[in-house]
């Protein structure tokens, strides 16, 4: 963990058991999810999670580059987790570093578990996660946004991935650490889960926990994952919801115009067999 010295008089957990932002140990920060926020990308999502602001975009399946990365029997997942230079207090040098490379790798592996990769041999699914504003928990926010973007892109998956972290601050196991708690806390356990089956597809830990504390942390995270899962599904429902009014307009638009004269057959071409339109 951060190992930074706590300022004198600053308490991570107060006498009422509340955290510095007023949350109870098992409480999430406010989360907002929106699907389909970018035009060019095939799928996209925006997540605000406490003070984190994260954007995810998905392209593919498309031809995998470089070619030697192609897999003959399945698609590969290419992930780039990136922090904008202005997303942190002290400007971050642009471009990948060791931390972001590692995070990109474990996120790609988490998504590889849920995507039906075998349906798209030799291709790549690109998941691009941009952290616009960071406040601890960006990889979890990124994964949560990324899986909504994958669904928005219509990539077949057996489940969405939800990610959330729990840890230990001021001797107390807590859900979803914020920046100060992450800096001064004793442990952090980010995890990613496919909620339908409970399969853990991402798990990292740093710090110091007893086995019992780890159990408690995972219990908090599993519980929270179900709440976040609902928010993900709700974002997708909002994106694709069609009102009765929309449907009526759509049907009117699609109705063929009344024929004014006999159709001239010579202007119609059927697709030739074997030729794709």
């Amino acid at each position: 963990m951060g190992g930074m010295e706590l300022e004198k008089g600053m308490k991570l957990i107060d006498e009422n058991g509340r955290r510095i932002d007023g949350r109870r140990p098992d409480e999430l920060r406010p989360i907002k999810i929106e699907a389909g926020v970018l035009k060019r990308a095939e799928g996209s999502a925006y997540v605000e999670w406490g003070n984190n602001k994260v954007l995810a975009a998905v392209y593919g399946p498309r031809e995998a580059h470089p070619r030697h990365n192609q897999k003959a029997e399945r698609a590969i997942v290419q992930c780039r987790y990136n922090m904008a230079p202005f997303s942190v207090t002290d400007r971050k040098r642009p471009g990948p570093d060791r931390r972001s490379n590692e995070i990109s790798k474990v996120i790609a592996e988490a998504f590889s578990n849920v995507i039906f990769l075998e349906q798209f041999p030799r291709t790549a699914v690109g998941v691009y996660i941009e952290v616009l504003q960071a406040d601890a928990g960006t990889r979890c926010a990124g994964i949560t946004a990324g899986s909504v973007a994958l669904a928005d892109a219509g990539i077949p998956m057996k489940d969405l991935v939800v990610a959330v972290a729990s840890g230990k601050v001021g001797g107390v196991v807590c859900l979803d650490l914020n920046k100060e708690e992450d800096n001064f806390g004793e442990a952090d356990v980010p995890m990613g889960v496919a909620p339908r089956t409970g399969d853990l597809v991402l798990l990292q830990m740093d710090g110091h926990l007893t086995a019992a504390e780890f159990d408690q942390a995972m219990k908090y995270s599993m519980n929270a994952a179900n709440q976040i899962y609902e928010l993900q599904r709700d974002a997708l429902r909002r994106r694709y919801a069609v009102s009765l009014e929309d449907l009526k307009v759509e049907m009117q638009r699609e109705a063929p115009p009344p024929a004014e004269e006999e159709p001239k057959y010579d202007v119609y071409y059927d697709a030739q067999p074997g030729v794709q339109e």
């Binding site: 035009k39 060019r40 942190v88 400007r91």
Partner: protein, 256 residues
């Protein structure tokens, strides 16, 4: 970064342009609608997200303390960089900034630097020792053509929202000292037609590109001609006049 355009689309755009019509119904000297959201990123000292049509660019300004360059001991430091994120287009590739990204950052930088938009003298704290160092980071989120203008508007809008964090010096926060508002207007030449603010398909088939940055007096502060085609002198004069006229309305939106 090369966009593919089918021959069919290319010829139809050209045919329509010959009759003075653009695919999205705009007049030749009409930019796409501009929308600006300032202050989105709280970790930045200034930020702005700009939508120019569907092109979506986020700029963050970071201000820190550092040493001045030896040849300008009484002035702050300004650095502009751009990233064409893979998120923004299927044609953007991973890796260090491409020549395109560097060109965009440098043209935006020139407009701001040469117009003296920021009062660099006021960024000096101790001459030769301590000055404010500004980083303008251009983050492209959705690419639908004309990144030069979208990035330039986002950078300028982010600067207008920027605050120098006095906390680092034990003084009050103060707004970034700004004197001018440069505005770039980019024209694209397709065949013999010249149009402003090229959308994605227009940009992809353009023969030449010309960015003209003017200030509130209509004076020219930066120019950049791009691509393999060429302009006649009178076409450049026209592009300058258009930049002055179109830039006026855009400046009002940036300063709002």
């Amino acid at each position: 970064m090369s966009e593919l355009v089918s021959e069919l689309l290319r010829s139809s755009i050209k045919k329509e342009l010959a009759a003075g019509r653009r695919a999205d119904g705009r007049a030749l000297d009409e930019p796409r609608p501009l929308r600006i959201q300032k202050g989105l990123v709280k970790t930045a000292e200034g930020s702005a997200r700009v939508w120019l049509g569907d092109t979506d660019v986020l700029v963050g300004v970071k201000a820190g303390l550092g040493e001045p360059y030896p040849d300008t001991p009484n002035s702050g430091v300004l650095t502009t960089s751009a990233e064409l994120n893979q998120m923004a287009s299927p044609t953007f590739e991973a890796g260090p900034p491409s020549a395109e990204a560097i060109e965009i950052a440098r043209v935006v930088d020139r407009g701001i630097r040469e117009s003296k938009a920021v009062d660099m003298g006021k960024l000096c704290i101790v001459p030769g020792e301590k000055v404010w160092v500004l980083f303008i980071d251009i983050h492209v989120l959705d690419y639908h053509g004309n990144l030069f203008d979208a990035a330039s508007y986002a950078a300028m809008a982010a600067l207008t929202s920027a605050v120098l964090p006095g906390g680092k010096l034990g003084i009050d926060d103060k707004p970034l000292p700004l004197d001018h508002t440069p505005v770039s207007v980019t024209a694209a030449k397709i065949g013999s037609t010249i149009l402003v603010d090229p959308a994605l398909d227009e940009e992809a088939i353009a023969d030449a590109r010309l960015t003209v940055t003017t200030d509130e007096n209509g004076d020219i502060r930066a120019m950049q001609k791009g691509l393999n085609g060429s302009f006649k002198f009178d076409e450049v004069q026209k592009a300058i006049a258009t930049s002055q006229r179109v830039g006026k309305a855009i400046r009002e939106i940036i300063l709002k």
